[in-house]
């Protein structure tokens, strides 16, 4: 049951933001943190799923932003040199020309992740972090991609 309390930091309280380029909406985004006491390389993430209002998002519509870069979820498991500092928020951008409706939405994040130093007798501890949080949509009109 180690690590369980860290799941509380997985979904950040930041509002959901509709992302616009000039006046054109290209999607919306929210923020997550790595649910542990320490940072890791992204390659330790074995699965990452997102649900908004109960609907699972198509992974081909999701970009993961960290360290000034944009990743596809399918790339994460190979990023053994991309470090996720424990205090840094990753931005999850959902590509959707309609953006997200104003108001509040329930965001659920499921992350399966490997604790890379735990192979005391060969097996790594693999954790399932599964959190939900209701987030408000920001009124902000202009956001940089």
């Amino acid at each position: 049951m180690d690590f369980q309390a860290y799941n509380k930091i997985l979904i950040c309280d930041d509002e959901i933001v509709n992302v616009r380029v000039d006046s054109v909406t290209i999607g919306y985004e929210f923020k997550i943190k790595y649910p542990s006491y320490r940072g890791v390389f992204l390659s330790c993430i074995e699965a990452l799923d997102f649900y908004v209002d109960g609907r699972k998002l198509d992974e081909s519509t999701i970009f993961f932003y960290l360290n000034g870069k944009q990743f596809l979820l399918g790339e994460l498991s190979e990023l053994f040199k991309e470090y996720w500092f424990i205090s840094d928020k990753a931005t999850i951008r959902v590509i959707d020309p309609n953006g997200i409706a104003p108001g509040s939405h329930e965001v659920r994040v499921f992350m399966r992740h490997r604790v890379p130093y735990t192979g005391y007798f060969g097996e790594y501890l693999v954790l399932d972090s599964d959190e939900s949080k209701t987030l408000a949509v920001s009124d902000r009109q202009e956001v940089s991609p």
């Binding site: 006491y37 205090s87 890379p116 192979g119 005391y120």
Partner: protein, 327 residues
């Protein structure tokens, strides 16, 4: 009555709750440690060093300034051997050496005389680091943490290196998780939250303490979660090491992790035999640091780390001094 020479330091990891929830930043953590009267500090680099594993000179300068400002002494730079970084394979020898050399260099730059590493370094690479440790003037010590313990064959190889070519340069860091013999309160609380019926949980704990085998402790009406947690209790709180083994390997101990999860008061830890451990170390002549290593943050983010640390320090001082007076 001779005065003991054990120093109480703190692993900044003890402030994980406050750090990861952004209640305290690195400066806040250091300030708090200083205010509590700690002098020697350990930093888990992968936790609190931004830009890790390649922190900038600007950060190093900033960090040196903080240590000075809060009158703290850098004692241990904690590194990992993250064997499982990659999805497709474990780290190679070259990669382990790269990470370890990197930590030795940054520890040196940040003023730490000691790097904590982990068992996965292997005896061969551990030995191979000796020239670099000597060249840089930084010691290297492997943490012995549950489920490992003195009798794991690998450790006999490590001790041979520490007592041979590595003498005085290579050592180990016992973590008191190796002596933990019963679940702590936060674990029990979490078990109940997850659905373990309190009476059944109490019965399991009693049976575990009484030496009843796990199979006999699992009742036929246990839910899946009750079975799972019972298995975890038997697997985790099995005290794999004997306290007298500390004395046996005292010459190799460079530093100690005073692991604890929850102290109900400032006198006694119900889960780790601190009275026996501390008097053994003291009477064996251990003169180094014991770092307070509060780990309850794995289980409950509502606990005040500072209060726990204060109880811990009080308990340590009481045992080291009161019990000394009695002998």
């Amino acid at each position: 009555m001779k005065q003991h020479k054990i120093k109480l330091g703190v692993s900044l990891y003890s402030f994980s709750t406050e750090f990861i929830s952004d209640q305290l930043d690195l400066e806040g953590v250091l300030k708090r440690a200083g205010e509590m009267g700690y002098k020697g500090v350990e930093i888990v680099a992968a936790q609190m060093v931004p830009e890790y594993p390649y922190p900038s000179d600007e950060w190093l300068e900033y960090f040196a300034g903080l240590l000075k400002e809060y009158d703290l002494e850098p004692v241990c730079w904690s590194a990992y051997i993250d064997m499982g970084i990659r999805s497709d394979r474990d780290l190679t020898r070259e990669e382990i050496i790269q990470y370890t050399l990197n930590d030795l260099i940054y520890a040196k730059k940040a003023g730490f005389p000691l790097v904590r590493t982990q068992h996965a370094i292997s005896p061969e690479i551990f030995r191979a680091m000796i020239p670099w440790c000597k060249h840089l003037g930084v010691k290297l010590a492997i943490e012995m943490h549950h489920p490992h313990h003195f009798d794991v064959p690998l450790w006999q190889e490590f001790f041979a290196v520490m007592r041979g070519e590595g003498k005085g340069i290579l050592g180990f860091v016992p973590d008191f998780s190796i002596f933990q013999h019963r679940p702590h309160q936060l674990f029990l609380n979490q078990a109940v939250e997850l659905g373990f019926r309190p009476d059944r949980l109490a019965a399991v704990v009693d049976k575990h303490q009484a030496g009843v085998p796990k199979e006999a402790a699992i009742e036929s009406d246990f839910s899946a979660v009750e079975r799972e947690i019972t298995t975890e209790i038997y697997g985790k709180f099995n005290r794999p090491a004997r306290v007298e083994q500390l004395r046996e390997y005292l010459d190799c101990i460079f530093y100690i992790h005073g692991k604890f999860y929850y102290l109900p008061d400032d006198r006694h830890d119900p889960c780790v035999p601190y009275e026996e451990i501390l008097t053994t170390l003291r009477d064996g002549g251990y003169e180094g640091y014991i770092a307070s290593e509060y780990e309850g943050h794995h289980f409950d983010a509502e606990i005040d780390s500072v209060a726990q640390l204060q109880r811990y320090v009080a308990m340590n001082n009481r045992i080291l001094n009161e019990q000394e007076a009695l002998t």
